[in-house]
Assembly symmetry: C2
Homo-oligomer: 406 residues x 2
């Protein structure tokens, strides 16, 4: 009998009935003889409601205080789930991030887990307790409450699974697993039985909202198999793991997309050392996350430089770049806030010819113009017109025959 | 410049505007150069809402889990108030009960404070911070969150004032102070400028919901002057302290009342040693709080025994007593669930003749029949028909000339 870490997200814990449902699931797992640690998110819209309270007080809430405020959402969830389990006559105990020994740095609102002190959880497990842990939160060495930012509860679950040497980590959510593409765009998209960490990382980063990239990274680092499955529909889910099945090697596993892409192009940039730093340092200082960066081959000592940002950051990024334009001397700065991304994701594509050309051909046949291309070990991404993204996803899903069982 | 501990109750912190109002008050105090620690309750109806969530899950929520759940209400308040102060450019820091070093025993839902570790608060004060503490909560030596039960936030405030050797403790609420009687019953009731701890204790126990008796007890024990005043209306409030003004000695200070009184009378009880224990032990085991107990003089080795309980406990108490009646052999058990109490409260009455007789005369003249009489050092209480309580309070307020400035 192994130790299993489960995580239930906010949509799985919206109402009292959800808590009772989750409690029955957890109790059934315990009845099989497993040790069980359950990580919970805040109920439904709680985090947004708490944030709303803060914004009623001040438009820029202090981050330390906001962390304490938001952390209460997960505390409420873990107390309620422990109650629901005890109402089923199961031994259960709730632990806050602090009590569970989730130690973090001091970066409020986006803290990184620096370690897990497993003493309390291990004592409770030894006493036969089901342990319910408030996700998304930790504590600094000064005993200040922090939150982990986006994907925080997923990260808590995988970190605990790693530290406690769990046999498996199970992430329960409102989807049935990882699909070959977003089923809302491609109705014939197929659930994947398993997927590699790096592939999952690319799928998650590029728009699949199933498992947060930070959690997938941790899984990769500590080699924790992560099952992603539905709280509501019984099913096998998708296992994120190292050992992908042999036949899946060198295959496109899925199509990812992202509609939140804006592009800034600087034309006629003097091609001399330090230019890139001069542009991207002030962007970083303005807390703007730059995604894809493409620099064209230099011609007569001037070059074109293009990068993408989230649409919400476009105005701020343009201000920073316009200011630099005068200092550095670009010819022209262009912005386009109507873009999207499509990616084919699969292990080993970079070392196998034919994938890229097949992708470009499929997009071309579908009448989709490509603005930018970037690649990684496990991904080829094209930036295209936002309006063409659904068309592009369907074309690629068909071209790579993803609806067929692999 | 002294250290001042302030406490704001839930009605003072219902909406965002309330938080801003309280923040301005606290900031003004800080601007006078004082060190300030603020204890906060949960916003408005938050505690009831959280309890409602628990009851949706199970009719009998586990007390440890309920404590964690309910404690989040005060955490939300302290984070929001700290944000509001920072929005006014004041240095402020929120602390949970755990962070503030509020140590308690393990009696979940009604924990007692066993000590205060003031290290963190003192460090924050030294750094120039206004310290906002979540009231009503503490932590056990196992780092489990506890709540202090009724009057918990008042108790937190006075305990902190005692441990930090504060110059004063100020309890802000929705009333303007302690009155000679409930102004809703006696329109001409007068606010008292000051009142002794013992007197306050009797007034609070016997129905004045201004300062919780536990807090008044702590104030008495550590000699902490406690100002009770309104959050909303500027005014001097009432100072609860040891040194009541000389002229107030041996005077009736106020009329207290309580409508939640039920009476059980056992007639023909064999008058032998151990009888009282045989009756009251099983009541205590059933967790029924017995208030007044009166035993009549024995006649022919049988006696009458009467006691009062809260109305909500009457049915349960009758079951316990009926069961004993057969074993012990009473003649008759009578119950009356329609009673109330009126008390005159003042220091030194017991040693001064005339107060009791004046009280009985006033009630008699008003046509109020007395069921039971009990006395303490600072109080004379009559149990009367519940319907007659308002009449009785008004008659006593007039007989002791409480509307006149003392």
């Amino acid at each position: 009998m192994a130790l299993i870490v489960q995580k239930y997200g906010g949509t799985s814990l919206a109402h009292a009935d959800n808590f009772k449902h989750v409690a029955r699931r957890v109790a059934a797992l315990r009845d099989q003889g497993h040790d069980v640690v359950v990580v919970v998110s805040a109920r439904g819209d709680t985090t947004d409601e708490l944030l709303g309270l803060a914004l009623e007080i001040t438009p820029e809430p202090d981050e330390r205080e906001l962390d304490l405020l938001l952390s209460t959402g997960e505390m409420v969830s873990c107390a309620l789930l422990a109650m629901a389990l005890k109402a089923l006559s199961k031994e259960a105990v709730s632990l806050t991030g602090l009590q569970a020994g989730i130690l973090t740095d001091k970066a409020h609102s986006k803290a990184r887990i620096t370690g897990v002190d497993p003493g309390r959880i291990q004592r409770e497990l030894k006493r036969g307790q089901i342990v319910i842990v408030a996700g998304f939160q930790g504590v600094t060495t000064d005993m200040d409450v922090t939150t982990l930012g986006r994907g925080g509860s997923d990260t808590t679950a995988v970190a605990l699974a790693a530290r406690l040497k769990a046999g498996r980590c199970e992430i329960y959510t409102d989807v049935e697993g990882v699909y070959t593409a977003d089923p809302r765009i491609v109705p014939e998209a197929r659930r994947l039985q398993d997927i590699g960490y790096e592939e999952m990382l690319e799928l998650a980063t590029y728009g699949a909202k199933v498992l947060h990239p930070r959690a997938a990274e941790l899984g990769l680092l500590y080699d924790i198999p992560i099952l992603v499955a539905s709280t509501f529909v019984e099913g096998p889910g998708t296992l994120v793991c190292k050992g992908v099945t042999m036949e899946a090697e060198n295959k496109v596993r899925g199509i990812a997309h992202d509609l939140d892409v804006a592009k800034i192009t600087m034309r006629g940039v003097p091609d001399r050392p330090g230019i890139a730093a001069a542009i991207f340092e002030p962007l970083a200082q303005a807390n703007i996350s730059v995604d894809t960066i493409v620099q064209n081959a230099s011609l007569e000592n001037v070059t074109d430089l293009t990068f993408t940002v989230a649409k919400g950051d476009l105005t701020k990024a343009m201000k920073v770049v316009d200011k630099r334009a005068k200092q550095v001397g670009f010819k022209q700065v262009l912005a386009d806030g109507t873009l999207g991304k499509v990616s084919i994701v699969g292990t080993g594509m970079q070392h196998t010819p034919g994938y890229a050309s097949k992708m470009f051909r499929a997009l071309s046949d579908a009448g989709v113009n490509i603005h930018l291309i970037t690649t990684s070990e496990v991904r080829i991404t094209c930036i295209v017109d936002g309006a063409k993204v659904p068309l592009a996803v369907r074309a690629l899903h068909e071209a790579f025959e993803l609806a067929k069982p692999q």
